[in-house]
Symmetry: C2
Subunit: 715 residues, 2 copies
């Protein structure tokens, strides 16, 4: 049998002080059901046997591969899919928090791994243990436990689906999601906290990063921190500089402005790296490595992990590398090349049509000339969708161990493609056509379209769509569940929606439409507001992570800095947009999407590199643009064309050199973070030493035999 030991007992249960808190909370039908942390929604066609089997696993003891969580079934209409509410007792959550090595701030203000036996260090003498974990953390813990229900050797396939085979150690929930038996799995919003957060968020000048982190997790908080930092520390000063440059409006200041820009970008990215490391330290995520616990979809043979000694799926890193470099890389390169080719084709077609339109007999009108551009735009967005699926599929297949690695490799693939689609056309205009006016107008159009379209798409459209598709009826429902929590939700003074104290109804009578095997699962009260909330939020769109948000900033960043030599005003537009953008994003997250699961990150991952690559590229493009700019060239008629080009080449290389020196000279982490990490490291080392000394002494007690003393020293 497959031992569930790899996630069984907390690492040092031996050191557990059972006298710290004297409470019992085994599942009791009369006890109130705690808040729902995850909603699991099955497809209507899913066989009741499979559902009942999963519920047994969720509620079952760990010794039998269960998760020891609490489950309630929601009252649903016949024909609808089954909806389960999953929760956990407070004690269980705290135990799991220890197991997941969650970091919490202790009473001394130090961020350290939570240990259940030290509960008092974290909540203080009078503190409430219920307050220690945020709802985001509880949801994360419950989701982690659900994902970690793994197939035993006695479960070759899902009951009722003999074809849906599983290998030992596979995540059952992930298989059921993959097989579309589970339609969705999502946490619920915490109305009270959300209300407090959003009121703070929409109207304050700076982003309330810490509140965002507590509610949405580190990944979302880091995105907003980045957006804020980028807007305030980079765009704002550069906008002022740009305005100054426009006011002076002399040609000679333009190169100076460009140099300022590219150096500012370099410094900004270096300083951001420091900031992000600082945040990661404060959030306790700085120690995340690629050898951490694998993500749920990581597959491999169950083996003893070299680092932790626990039983975990293992997959040779070499195979991942082979897949990456021998399969994925060629496919991606071909895709990029095709995208480039399509772009060239559209340019060629447009050019031909423009020439033909000069001949009135050809029948080519002004409108016809625009066809290639329009077709190209549509094609790009369609192909983009497919490419995104391809990239996700390939990255999944590469089988990276951690979520961060997975995200990084997925982002690299996607960004390269987006880069070709977005910027190659502009490069073509700038350096092949060398038409600066066309470039400028194109830039202005794309920048404004990007920003308007995005904001509309992100906020206005979803609101409108929902209003149109669901009509007033559902809208009312939503308003009741969403806005008026105070009216029917019994808001507690401590915050958060207090759940109904009523006991669960064990449905011994046969409800019509509920299959017999499911009637063993206790049901929620008929008037529990969570049932409506689960339905409403289940119909909302899922927030797919920060990818699209970063991408938007990335493209904007490219528009502003790659071509600042021809369009210095871009920074102003970007600044203006970002002030709105951050609010739109906040609104989107708070109101339009299902609550996303908190995700822990230690940095912006591939985005840091992507932005750095753009920074380096901006040196090349700006020097190139200034070099091909006719007015500037006109000032130096005495230089031959080659001399002129060489001069700019020297400037470019010097700037690259400056960039390299800055990169080397600015340390990645602030001094205090380095010292704090070194301190922790030193203390751990000492502790390990002591532990080994202790162990040795114990073993030497057993076989105490003097070692022969050497007769004569030798050197």
């Amino acid at each position: 049998m497959f031992p569930a030991g790899f996630k069984m007992t907390p690492p040092d249960s031996s050191a557990m002080d059972d006298d710290v808190f004297d409470f019992t909370d085994s599942e009791d039908a009369d006890a109130p059901f705690p808040p729902t942390y995850m909603v699991v929604r099955f497809a209507a066609a899913t066989q009741p046997r499979a559902i009942a089997w999963l519920v047994d696993k969720i509620r079952g003891p760990r010794s039998h591969g269960g998760a020891e969580l609490l489950v309630r079934r929601q009252h649903t209409e016949p024909g609808d899919g089954v909806i389960l509410h999953v929760s956990a007792s407070c004690r269980k959550l705290l135990e799991l928090a220890e197991e997941m090595e969650l970091k919490k701030r202790d009473q001394a203000g130090l961020m350290r791994e939570f240990i259940f036996a030290h509960l008092r260090d974290f909540v203080g003498e009078k503190g409430d243990r219920e307050d220690l974990l945020t709802t985001a953390e509880r949801q994360l813990i419950v989701r982690h436990e659900l994902d970690n229900i793994r197939a035993l050797s006695e479960d070759p396939s899902i009951p009722g689906y003999p074809n849906f085979r599983m290998y030992e150690g596979q995540s059952i929930v992930q298989v059921m999601i993959h097989r579309a038996l589970v339609m969705s799995m999502y946490p619920l919003h915490d109305k009270e906290n959300l209300k407090r957060l959003s009121s703070k968020w929409y109207y304050s000048k700076h982003q309330p990063i810490e509140d965002i982190r507590l509610y949405f997790g580190e990944a979302v908080a880091l995105y907003f921190k980045f957006l804020d930092f980028y807007t305030v520390k980079l765009l704002f000063p550069l906008t002022l500089l740009g305005v100054l440059q426009m006011a002076l409006s002399t040609l000679e200041t333009l190169p100076f402005f460009c140099v300022c820009n590219v150096i500012a970008v370099t410094v900004f990215l270096e300083v951001w790296r420091r900031r992000s490391n600082e945040a990661a330290f404060q959030w306790g995520t700085i120690g995340m490595t690629s050898l951490d616990e694998p993500r749920p979809n990581f597959h491999g043979t169950m083996m003893v992990d070299t680092v932790t000694g626990r039983l975990l799926p293992q997959f040779p890193r070499r195979t991942t590398y082979i897949r990456m470099y021998c399969v994925t890389l060629p496919i991606v390169v071909v895709c990029l090349f095709l995208a480039f080719l399509v772009m060239l084709l559209s340019f060629y077609a447009e050019e031909r049509l423009t020439q033909m339109s000069k001949d009135p007999e050809s029948g080519v009108t002004y409108v016809t000339v625009m066809i290639p551009s329009v077709v190209y735009s549509i094609l790009v967005s369609v192909v983009n969708l497919y490419y995104r699926k391809l990239a996700t599929y390939l990255t999944e297949w590469e089988n990276h161990r951690t979520q961060s690695q997975f995200e990084r490799h997925r982002v690299i693939k996607l960004v390269a493609f987006e880069f070709v689609n977005t910027f190659m056309a502009l490069f073509y205009i700038a350096f092949i056509y060398q038409d600066m006016d066309m470039l400028r107008s194109q830039l202005a159009t794309m920048l404004i379209i990007l920003q308007v379209v995005n904001n509309v798409q992100e906020a206005v459209l979803p609101l409108l769509m929902r209003y149109l598709s669901k009509g007033a009826g559902v809208g009312e429902h939503e308003a009741a569940a969403g806005g008026a929590g105070g009216a029917d939700g019994e808001v507690s003074s401590a915050g958060g929606l207090r759940y109904r104290g009523g006991s669960a109804t064990l449905s011994h009578e046969l409800y019509p439409g509920v299959p017999e095997v499911l009637q063993g699962i206790p049901e929620l009260d008929a008037d529990d507001p969570r049932q409506q909330q689960a339905l409403t939020e289940g119909s909302m769109d899922e927030y797919e992570g920060t990818y699209d948000d970063y991408l938007e900033v990335f493209i904007q960043f490219g528009y502003v800095f790659l071509f600042s030599a021809v369009y210095p005003q871009a920074a102003l537009w970007a600044l203006f947009n970002n002030v709105i953008e951050s609010r739109v994003d906040a609104f989107k997250l708070c109101r339009l999407y299902q609550r996303p699961l908190a995700r822990r990150v230690k940095d912006t991952g591939a985005w840091q590199r992507a932005f750095e690559a753009l920074g380096a590229m901006s040196i090349i493009t700006n020097c190139g643009l200034l070099c091909v700019s006719p007015p500037l060239r006109g000032r130096f008629p005495e230089l031959s064309q080659t001399q002129w080009v060489l001069r700019w080449m020297v400037v470019e290389h010097l700037l690259m050199g400056v960039r390299y020196v800055l990169h080397q000279a600015i340390p990645d982490k602030p001094e205090w973070v380095r010292v704090a990490l070194a301190k922790l490291n030193y203390q751990s080392k000492l502790a390990l030493r002591k532990e080994r000394a202790l162990k040795r002494r114990m073993s030497s007690r057993r076989s105490a035999r003097p070692v022969p003393v050497p007769k004569a020293p030798a050197h």
Copy 2:
């Protein structure tokens, strides 16, 4: 009073098992004096009071700021400076090894910090504790202890020298060296081991890296590892490729050859980084950080170290940065600029003279034309000497905490200057004159001169000099002490020169010429061969670290790769040279220099970056050379000059891109090192956790009071 506590008791003396070895070795006049680990040679004029005071410190107990080492005075002629032999008991050495966190391989083959109480884990049940530490390590330990004798508040100045003031916590030995009271301080060679090492070293195909490390320490071993790796893995294949290219001798293959070169360099440097990290892991130096124990010359106010909690000199890092960027950087830049200017001047003078020489009436002959070059060469070598002093002084003044940081910043300053002096002239010829033949002949000359001169200078000249200056008498002495260890040294079978068993003579009778205060120091036997050895090796030159050796490779690397487009044969010469070079260096270290003190390093420091910078530059220069090469240009007459330049620019940027991608894609550390480090980290973390759990439990025993159980859960 200044507490000597910062280096007093070993970190966990509480866990020490005193029953492991039952031996006593307090200093006993009748006990044999162990091998000399450090020789301290005073100036003849040094006041005996000062010497006696230092000896008291060296022998004194730690509780009074002493080092608890053993000292013997060498019998010297009247008028000569006093020479002291410093040693330590085996037990003391092992205790200090623990304190210095020296890493040793235990019986399980694992590299870990030596702990005295675990001695048996390291030497095994039957092992000899004398064999555990190599002589290099013993010397390092003794030197470390000597350097760590620090001035107490009761020592305001050196006795007999009221003007030589010291601040509390300053290293006394360093002050005495600085004030020229101590002329030199050096370890002695270990004839037997040296003989074994050198016979292996001179004749084996590969460098015996592990033996070198054990005898000369990590810094020297890493240099030879680098030299070996560079010669075998980079130069050898490229030579083959170069020969192939010469055989084909078609113009079209040259660009291909260049591209191969620059990509090979990039890959080589990345792989070297991996190798060096691997070695650092195996040698136990990978964990060295800039927060490690400060180097002896680091000064600052004595304060509690944030990381270790020990009392150590502290100096604000910010001040170092300010000094670096506000003072040193401008000075260095000015120096570089001046060097550049001097080079231009010499070129200008040469050009003028060449023009004048065409006019027979000017009296300028062929010889006169060469004057500027000669003057320039002499000027460069003279200025170099002064610049080196300046760089050392500035780096010392910047006050870097660790030896590695100090070395890195010193190397950066020196390499920049060497770069300007060595390569700028070639750049000038290549890109301003664009005279490829001149470049080629210049390269060939400089490469061969460099190699011949260096080898002569390093090996032949010192041998000759010594022979000439000292005559046959000293030569015999040396031969006796050096080669014929077996004849008079009582070679033990265990290896190494066994010291004479005779007891030290406490000179109660008054020797003529020996001041009274020094007569309390026991003297070595009159026939102890170490006395002659100390004199002979004291007169040898000091090995000043690996800087000059790396520099030689660096310059060669530059000649070979920066200009491989015009002179592909360079690799062959370099290969040929390095085969000899490694032997010459080996000979130099074994026979010509004082034994250097082992130095621990975790990587090649600034050299890695310097070579990487050359690698990047080689892309630029090779593309540039191919671009200005007339024969290649002749093949593409249809391209305009600007188009031609732009084409090469694109190639250059593509290669830079490839370099960047390779740099990102090749991980710094091999997978197994990463896993091993992660494992150690994980174990330390667990140990710290347990320790904290234990502490908490103990404190909670005292105040066991139940925390109020919350009445109602809230979310």
